[in-house]
């Protein structure tokens, strides 16, 4: 089997496992869709984003897109990595000739692909149900999604190294994202967030992901590229990758 075939088969099996996992399907695929529908039903009217008027439904499409992306590439990935490590599955894989990088990259690729699929689903629902225009700059949006998902996958691998039990994986990952969703312009428009909370949010990558995904939806900008926010995401990804490379373990935490 060629190296490319070996990787692609690993990726296909990881995709299959994602899809067959009930928790993944409900929390990563269904929940963001439900959130979009609920937010669009509750919040009507407009907000102002970077000096431009934007319908709230338009605001929520990239916002929920950020949530779906993080769910796929960070929350779900981290939980999968911890579960597979603590159960001994990763250790068993290390005992085969399959290169370690394939295991890591395949699972990261699942996060990126699911993030793209979620973005398409949300775009379509937004357009069909709420008349949210599809951005002209789809390329810029795709770059933001792929870079964002890859960065959050790196954060996931880094965070997985500090979680030592399967039981702690779900609370730990959710606790790191839920409060940030509220202060990072994902669930609530940025201008309604007090400055001191926004200052906190700016430190973390969710704020920058939300901005990078929203930028192509600002029609007056004609779909520019949020270079500064993308740069922050890349920085988070690189630093996380360095942490993961130093700390990542293949064996269960109770084995010294």
């Amino acid at each position: 089997m060629s190296e490319a075939a070996l990787f692609s088969r690993q990726f296909r099996v990881d995709m299959l496992r994602f899809w067959r996992n009930t928790q993944s399907r409900y929390f990563t695929i269904l929940l963001p869709i439900v959130f979009l529908v609920i937010f669009a039903a509750i919040f009507k009217g407009v907000t102002v984003v970077e000096g431009h008027v934007m319908k709230l439904t338009t605001f929520y499409v990239p916002g929920i897109m950020a949530m779906g992306l993080i769910s796929a590439s960070y929350v779900n990935l981290t939980q999968a990595v911890v579960t597979r490590r603590e159960g001994g599955e990763l250790k068993r894989l290390r005992g085969t000739p399959l290169p370690a990088a394939y295991v890591i990259c395949s699972r990261a690729a699942v996060g990126v692909v699911i993030a793209v699929v979620m973005a398409v689903i949300l775009l379509v629902i937004g357009n069909v149900a709420y008349g949210v225009p599809v951005p002209h700059a789809l390329g810029a949006l795709l770059v933001a999604i792929v870079v964002g998902a890859a960065a959050f996958a790196c954060v996931g691998f880094a965070v997985s190294t500090v979680i030592t039990t399967v039981e702690a994986a779900a609370p730990a990952t959710n606790l790191t994202v839920l409060p940030l969703y509220f202060i990072s312009g994902v669930f609530v428009p940025e201008r309604q967030i007090p400055a001191f909370l926004r200052d906190i949010a700016e430190v973390f990558p969710i704020y920058h992901l939300a901005r990078a995904l929203r930028e192509p939806f600002i029609e007056a900008h004609g779909g520019p590229f949020a270079a500064g926010d993308i740069a922050v995401l890349i920085l988070w990804g690189v630093v996380s990758l360095a942490v993961a490379a130093r700390r990542f373990r293949w064996t269960p935490s109770d084995e010294s």
Binding site: R9, V13, L16, R20, G88, E89, R92, G95, T96, P97
Partner: protein, 312 residues
């Protein structure tokens, strides 16, 4: 490779040591496993058994000593080496979302010349479950699944770490047949187990580790001088008879516990002759008369009695 290894030796270990901080768990052990041999590595929990196996498998670094497995140092061995060994680890959860065949096929793809997928599934007795999700398998079936994954790469050397723990008696018999078949086709097997009947049945050679050191090594029949050990004759005294009533040569050796007499002897035939002559003369049948040899388990328990192993 400075360890003096003959080509026939699949595993050579010299002076292996492993410490965690000040605590030395493996204290200078030597092992040799030849090609085609089933080698059983026995020892209580905490004796250093799993640490040793994981050093041989390349999972742990050693503190000192020389180790050669399939001609390479496992600490630095690469992909090609991994393709020549098969593993059943002590505990491992399997991907619940995949079917038996999907997982075996996935692993088959890791190896340069894998065995046939369905044949391997049949070999471990999961033919009827090939299309079932792993989440629906019983504990024993999952363990057999692990054996299938260990075999799928058609390895030269297979590490089986307690492969039948949790099996029912029928499944254990089945697994033993699988292992015996592997031996028959020339595979080398490094087995750890808590079951002495398993070692007795499968192993060509046995080594016992206690408190980090090898305390005995040999064939299952001769381990710990088992073949030299005295036979034990036991029976219940006939009603009304006293130990003192036994023939003088026997009475001095006889020990009574719970109404049964125990005689240890180097000459079972003559001792029995004397005893049965005595009983027949009295008109007694000694209906529960038994002659026994120390089992592998007796020898093992005696060897490891001092090792108050912490459970690992």
């Amino acid at each position: 490779m400075s360890a003096a290894s003959r080509p026939a030796d699949v595993i050579t270990v010299r002076g292996l040591r492993k410490s965690y901080g000040a605590h030395e768990v493996v204290r200078g052990i030597d092992l040799t496993v030849s090609r085609g041999e089933v080698f059983a590595f026995l020892g209580p929990n905490g004796a250093g058994k799993t640490t040793t196996v994981e050093i041989l498998e390349g999972y742990r670094a050693r503190s000192a000593g020389e180790v050669s497995v399939l001609g390479e140092d496992p600490a630095g061995a690469g992909r090609e080496w991994r393709g020549r060994i098969g593993l059943v680890l002590q505990s491992c959860t399997m991907p619940a979302e995949l079917s038996v065949r999907e997982l075996v096929a996935l692993y088959a793809g890791f190896y340069p010349a894998p065995r046939d997928i369905d044949e391997t599934i049949d070999l471990v007795g999961l033919g009827g479950q090939a299309d079932q999700r792993i989440s629906s398998l019983s504990g024993g079936q999952v363990r057999r699944m692990e054996v299938a994954l260990a075999l799928i790469g058609d390895p030269e050397l297979i590490f089986l770490d307690e492969p039948t723990t949790g099996f029912d008696p029928a499944a254990r018999q089945n697994a033993w047949e699988v292992i015996a078949n592997l031996k028959a086709i020339g595979k080398t097997i490094f087995l750890t187990t808590h079951y002495m009947d398993e070692a007795q049945r499968l192993a060509d050679r046995v080594a016992v580790i206690a408190a980090g050191a090898i305390v005995a090594e040999g064939t299952p029949a001769t381990l710990g001088g088992r073949d030299q050990a005295r036979s034990i004759i036991s029976f219940t005294l006939p009603a009304g008879a006293e130990t003192a009533a036994l023939p003088a040569a026997l009475a001095s050796d006889a020990r009574v516990a719970d109404g049964r007499v125990r005689l240890e002897t180097d000459a079972p035939a003559s001792t029995l002759h004397e005893l049965t002559s005595w009983a027949l003369a009295r008109g007694d049948e000694l209906t529960d008369l038994a002659v026994s040899r120390p089992t592998l388990e007796d020898v093992y328990l005696a060897l490891t009695a001092e090792d108050v192993g912490e459970s690992s």
